[in-house]
Amino acid sequence: MGASHTRTEPNEFQDLMDKTGFSVEQIKNLRKRFLQLSGNEETISRENLDSIPALANNPLKKEIINAIFDKRNQHESEVGSFQEIGFEQFLMVMSHFRPPTLKTTPEEKEALRKEKLRFLFNMHDTDNDGTITLDEYRKVVEDLLSKSGAIEPATAKGIADAAMLEVASTNVPHMAPDEFYEGITFEHFEQILKGLEMETRMHIRFLDVGTATMRCGRSTS
């Protein structure tokens, strides 16, 4: 208020704000991070993400990087994956992890939750046929567990099979013994994770300037 010296907020961010729901300051912070990751280029490739040390630690690194480059997560109807992504696409992916604010209506909350579930589903459903098959599921379990011998491969397979069986029995209660359970569809997926608190498990608190202003003890007025 008052001082006419404010720089006009770039309208380019207005567009991004509407699409992704981030605030201006969050977008600026993410832009700085984007440039840091890309080495001041306009696009990020998989190699740029590969060089983050903390990510290299993560057993599901491959799935995560694929999700970032997945076209399905861009809220458009394309499939496949990008080779490189620009800042807008980066923001779109990150927007899946935003928590609901106080102003979100219950319908919006439900939509947000569905979005997050869709993101997760896409991470598992790598061939994009609409179902998570046993093979795809096994892949994730294998990645999570150690290959070094803490768990034998048979055990790992057993764990994946058991989990899959449980999903089948919950969702298709009257399956005949010789019927083949094709895979987890999105509806089944939603059903399984119904009780899960998506709001806490899958969000990242992006700091906003409004909440983290640094006020020293001395008042200056």
Partner: protein, 440 residues
């Protein structure tokens, strides 16, 4: 034009007179006229005023952003065990969520990448180079900034250049002269004198104010001094207060000249590049030096590369395998007066030194820690970690386990294997009875 020449000569003579008698000679004797401390106090007052002004400006113009020192996301901080295993749950689809969230969090903000670029300040210290986010706030601030530019570039910079040139040439000449003497205690004493005086002059050349703490813990002869590494200037800072044997690669050019002359008077350890690859050769030479108990303490920076002085990264265990007593030292630069970190991928040595000489000043705190030795049942890596934690704790720096070599290289796969093992043990711990029934 002719009458300008004697004027110029006169000015130059007056200049040199001031430099030599008021700065250089007291520096060599280790005295101080107190000008620098007065300067620092004035500077602190000005910076405090500037900070208040900027904060007031922020409240009036809410569009001016605030830098976030701890990263751009707030982490909930749950560990793998807490998130995964509420009272005996088995493997479930939602376990993967923990890893996904952690993964995306590290893409957005991680602890390591930020260590290789300069620290962002909470408030502007009136240097253009730290002006990331600060916009026009008031006229008075801009005037002070302009004055600062004039003082730094017009007054301080020529002074500092002169001092550095004098200091370095004195080092080369002095050590070469001392090198002609035969080996004797006089030679050792003279060489220490030459080294210390020259480093003191160089320190004045950077307007460095160093506060040494716990000087009774200073490294002794036959010991190894380790410290965290921020910049090549660390060497000047430490050598102001004692004589060390330096360790490093043989360089060409100006550095090579310095190295060759230094080694004439006092046994420094310079390695050829080919020798560096052979770890055993390196360790043997260092061992031989330490074993001769009357030689100067070796100065080593076990991080292996420059870190931005907000944290201490992994100490490489090679330095800790030599044996002998380790004397740890913690160095912390005050970022308000100038950014001492050398970002070698961004600036070369010459532009780095120019930036140093046009900062306000360099204010350093050096803490000497009590000596440490390797204990029973400890291997070199654990010992290195123990020393690192002590240094980080004393200097108020963050203690990280990551390798400074990540600046240029990639993470080893074995770290990912650690995470997988941890998760596996959580799962097998719960579903022992289940898995046995499954593997039929």
């Amino acid at each position: 034009m002719d009458d300008l020449w004697p004027v110029a000569v006169g000015v130059f003579q007056a200049w040199m007179f001031v430099v030599v008698f008021f700065i250089m000679l007291p520096a060599m004797c280790g005295l101080s006229l107190g000008v620098t401390s007065v300067y620092i106090q004035i500077l602190v007052k000005i910076l405090e005023w500037a900070t208040l002004r900027i904060q007031r400006g922020r409240q009036e113009q809410p569009s001016v952003p605030v830098p976030l020192p701890n990263g751009i996301i707030e982490r909930a901080g749950g560990s793998m065990e807490e998130e995964m295993a509420p009272a005996g749950a088995e493997f479930s689809l939602s376990d993967a969520l923990f890893f996904y969230k952690e993964g995306v969090e590290s893409i957005v903000d991680d602890q390591v990448t930020q260590r290789f670029s300069s620290e962002e300040l909470a408030s502007w210290n009136l240097l253009t180079r730290t002006n990331h986010n600060f916009r026009y706030i008031s006229l008075r601030l801009t005037v002070i900034w302009g004055l600062g530019v004039f003082v730094r570039y017009g007054v301080l910079f020529p002074l500092r250049i002169t001092l550095t040139v004098i200091g370095l040439s004195w080092l080369v000449i002095g050590t070469t002269l001392v090198g002609f003497l035969p080996e004797s205690s006089v030679k050792t004493w003279l060489s220490e004198l030459v080294h210390v005086t020259c480093y003191r002059i160089c320190a004045r050349g950077l307007s460095a104010t160093v506060h040494y703490h716990n000087r009774d813990n200073r490294p002794q002869k036959g010991g190894i001094c380790v410290s965290n590494h921020t910049t090549p200037i660390d060497v000047v800072i430490l050598a102001n207060d004692g004589c060390y044997a330096m360790v490093g690669q043989v360089h060409g050019g100006l550095m090579g000249v310095l190295q060759r002359s230094m080694v004439r008077s006092c046994p420094h350890i310079w390695f050829e590049r080919s020798e560096m690859r052979d770890r055993h050769a390196v360790t043997n030479r260092l061992r031989a030096h330490v074993a001769a108990k009357n030689k100067l303490p070796i100065l080593i920076f076990p991080e292996g590369t420059c870190i931005n002085n907000t944290s201490v990264m992994m100490f490489k265990k090679g330095s800790f395998e030599i044996g002998g007593t380790i004397h740890p030292v913690a160095i912390k630069y005050d970022p308000r007066f100038g950014d001492a970190f050398w970002n070698s991928s961004k600036y070369n040595m010459v532009s780095y030194l120019l930036r140093m000489m046009t900062s306000w000043a360099i204010v350093v705190n050096v803490w000497y820690l009590p000596p440490m030795t390797i204990q029973e049942g400890e291997d070199a890596a654990q010992f290195a970690n123990r020393v690192k934690s002590a240094v980080a704790h004393r200097g108020g720096l963050l203690d990280l386990d990551w390798d400074g070599g990540l600046k240029r290289g990639k993470v080893k796969d074995s770290l990912k294997e650690e995470q997988q093992k941890k998760y596996s043990s959580i799962i097998t711990g719960q579903s022992d009875h289940d898995s046995s029934s499954l593997t039929t």
